[in-house]
Amino acid sequence: MALSRPLSRSLSRALGRGISGGIGLIKRLLDLYPGAAAAYSLQDIGGGGNVTRVRRSSDNAEQDFTAGQIGDPLRQFALNGDSDLWDFASGSSPRMYFDGINDNVTVAGMTAASNYFRACTIQATVFIPDASDSGSVFSLGIDCYRLRHFSGTWKINTTNTHVSVTEGIQTLAVDYNSSGKATALRINGATEWVGTASAGSSPSTLFNIGSAGSVHFTGLIYDFSLSGSSVKNFAFNGYGNQNSDWEDTVGSNDGTVNGSPALFTGQGFDAYVTTWYDQSGNGNDATQSTAASQPQIVDSGVIVTDDDGIPSMDFDGTDDGFFTSTGLGLVQPITAFCIGKSTLSSSFDPFMDGEFGGGRCQIGRSSSNFQFFAGTAQTPFTSDDNKHLLSCLYNGASSSARLDGTSSGTINTGTGGMGRISIGRDNPLGGTDLEGQVSELIVYDSDQSTNRDAIEQNIANRYGIALS
């Protein structure tokens, strides 16, 4: 019985399976064309389980993800699973992200006096992503009614409180006396410092939120208030990056947004792929155990995607890449399919390669061509920076390569086999590295000429590639 498209789509999603434009459930690629020696994708192409293991930058915790979880669940993981940050980042409760460069909110109409507000309390809720960073939460001019953090401690006006800065969401409150001197710092309601912090000598007519002089704040500031003053009080929700989000809720001292602040999407929260699981069932997982060499899958809280918005991962062109832990011992004929994009970081950008001396079937981009190699390099196609479906039948003098369905005709790529598979690097020992993306790589230990058209159509459909 054929299923209606909406029903089949929902069932397909529930099963974690791909869907094509046809009616009814569409089998996954490896269900239709089994026998792959290794298969890597962020989509479920036949494994049914986890497709990747990811390390988040915030605390370096790792977690496995299925294809269906490469979306909001992965973003939430990257955001530490923090429900408040997720509300902000997902847009359900937007916040302005202060970029630490030139974003701030100013309130005009003050008087340039170091004790202008007299006694008051200034309070704000902030999110600090990096405690080792420096930034100013608020100030009148450069150094009056000022709260800033520098080298890991809180400074008020011109005085170092020696109170350590901690990362995360927190509510800060500073009491000032009638001379403009600070007398207390409270964090989340607890008094962390008491004393006398003299005001500086550079007040101005602008009150700044998110800056003091050239020192800008990185993170979130919202629920801001200056209260208890006999001169002027104001308060802002700060639930966005428009002037309308910084209108005074207790008076008429509206704020003005400066710079080009973005809304918070998770800036400061990244995630990297430690393992790209082999969906072939052969356990040839591709791994990267060095943190600095792991391709990126979440960038500033957002899933990395290809040119068509399909989840992918970025290789940095420096040292990012995966390797299988052992050689596969494949001999020709071998057929490989790859979705890749290169912006050419060096003289050669490898999508797939092997180990020097251990058998190497290679797909990559040289300076002006896409290259296919198994002992003899062939460059049948002119290269560019776009995403492509590249495939190659490695079969000695009867080899053939394809670029988005266009065939090279018969070529001789050599007779090499495949040992360890390397993705994004041309050699586990180091060498040239891909600057770009690999979204899918499937290697068959067989001649797939009979199925090649259908396999390429399946892949092309899922990645929005028009075959010629």
Binding site: D130, S132, S164, T287, A292
Partner: protein
């Protein structure tokens, strides 16, 4: 990114990278085992990646200061002495003590390896750029 040249070979370089990871994620419960990459020269020397750059600036009192573009999380429960046990082979005892104390002080926060290297007379002369390594034959010629 720069590279720290180590005369002791690739095994030591990897041990140092693993020790760096150990201060970031001491539980060792995950698949990541090393913090930065390592390189091996054909003559047996090894190099450790040193992430980020040091940008010269001024502190609020106008004194020269550096801002480091990359810093490493230092776990609150890490064992600074374990890192010392590895780094001590490359530095003087006084430097090893200072590095251990620096890690202790940074627990729960962040620390830049580059700042450690620049502050260590034993390590700072060994800091090289990629261009310097290329000229010294560290990277194999691209192969087909």
């Amino acid at each position: 990114m720069k590279y720290l040249i180590l005369e002791s070979g690739i095994a030591y370089a990897r041990a140092l990278s693993a020790a760096m990871w150990g201060v970031t994620r001491p539980s060792g419960d995950n698949s990541t085992k090393y913090y930065v990459g390592t390189l091996q020269h054909p003559d047996g020397r090894a190099a450790l990646q040193v992430l980020g750059e040091a940008i010269e600036t001024e502190d609020e009192d106008g004194n020269p200061a550096y801002v480091f573009t990359e810093s490493q999380p230092i776990h609150k429960d890490c064992d600074a002495s374990a890192f010392r046990e590895v780094i001590k082979d490359s530095v003087t005892e006084a430097e090893a003590n200072a590095i251990e104390a620096g890690i202790e002080a940074a627990k729960g926060g962040r620390m830049s390896l580059l700042s450690v290297v620049l502050a260590s007379p034993s390590l700072s002369p060994r800091l090289k750029t990629k261009e310097e390594l290329q000229a010294d034959g560290w990277f194999p010629e691209p192969q087909e």
